[in-house]
Symmetry: C2
Subunit: 119 residues, 2 copies
């Protein structure tokens, strides 16, 4: 019950980019969606179903915290804000290390060692 195994080990590209988008400052859903697109140069485009589903799971596994922002001026639906936790940061950093390593390996193997060894 309530397992909440939470996101662990390697993060999916989608989850990685959501956490990356929250790295500098808290944001609300729509902001995250835009940020992910620009961060990934258009290669990761989150549908709203993916986005809000992922945010709910991330909150349950405590990689992010959610809270209500005040509705701007007039009464209306309060925006929901999300911020990354310390746990979220460490997971993101772990994934960052894997990707850095993987990027180097794939660069060597795809482009050849010629591009690596200088002079």
């Amino acid at each position: 019950m309530h397992s909440t195994r939470g996101y662990d080990t390697p993060l999916t590209p989608q989850i990685f980019h959501i956490l990356l988008a929250l790295c500098d400052a808290p944001a609300h859903g729509y902001d995250i969606q835009q940020q992910v697109s620009t961060d990934s140069a258009g290669s990761v485009v989150l549908s709203s179903s993916t986005l809000y589903g992922a945010l709910a799971t991330l909150a349950k596994s405590r990689l992010i915290d959610e809270y209500n922002g005040r509705p701007q001026i007039a009464p209306g639906k309060p925006r929901r804000y999300y911020q990354i936790t310390q746990l979220g940061r460490s997971q993101l950093d772990q994934e960052r290390r894997r990707m850095e390593r993987a990027a180097v390996l794939s660069r060597q193997r795809l482009l050849g060692p010629t591009h690596w060894r200088v002079k």
Copy 2:
């Protein structure tokens, strides 16, 4: 019909590492499993169900080709070998570019610009 959407857009870490493992030379399943573990420094460990399932899907979407190797010496089950295709290489390279960009961004945001800007 025949959709087989095939692996596109961003690759999952698992699929990425399988393609990476096949980058230098063709290999059989068990080799790939070992290679992925070492390539990822233990952060991606493929169960056999994930491995062979993914290999079947990759073959169907033509990112890899499969063929039977001769059973070594004595008669026995022929090993199944897998090799990456040109399409597979381009998909891997596309993902490599995304990861390189993402690695730089996350490094900056996690470690701060201090580590980036020199002097």
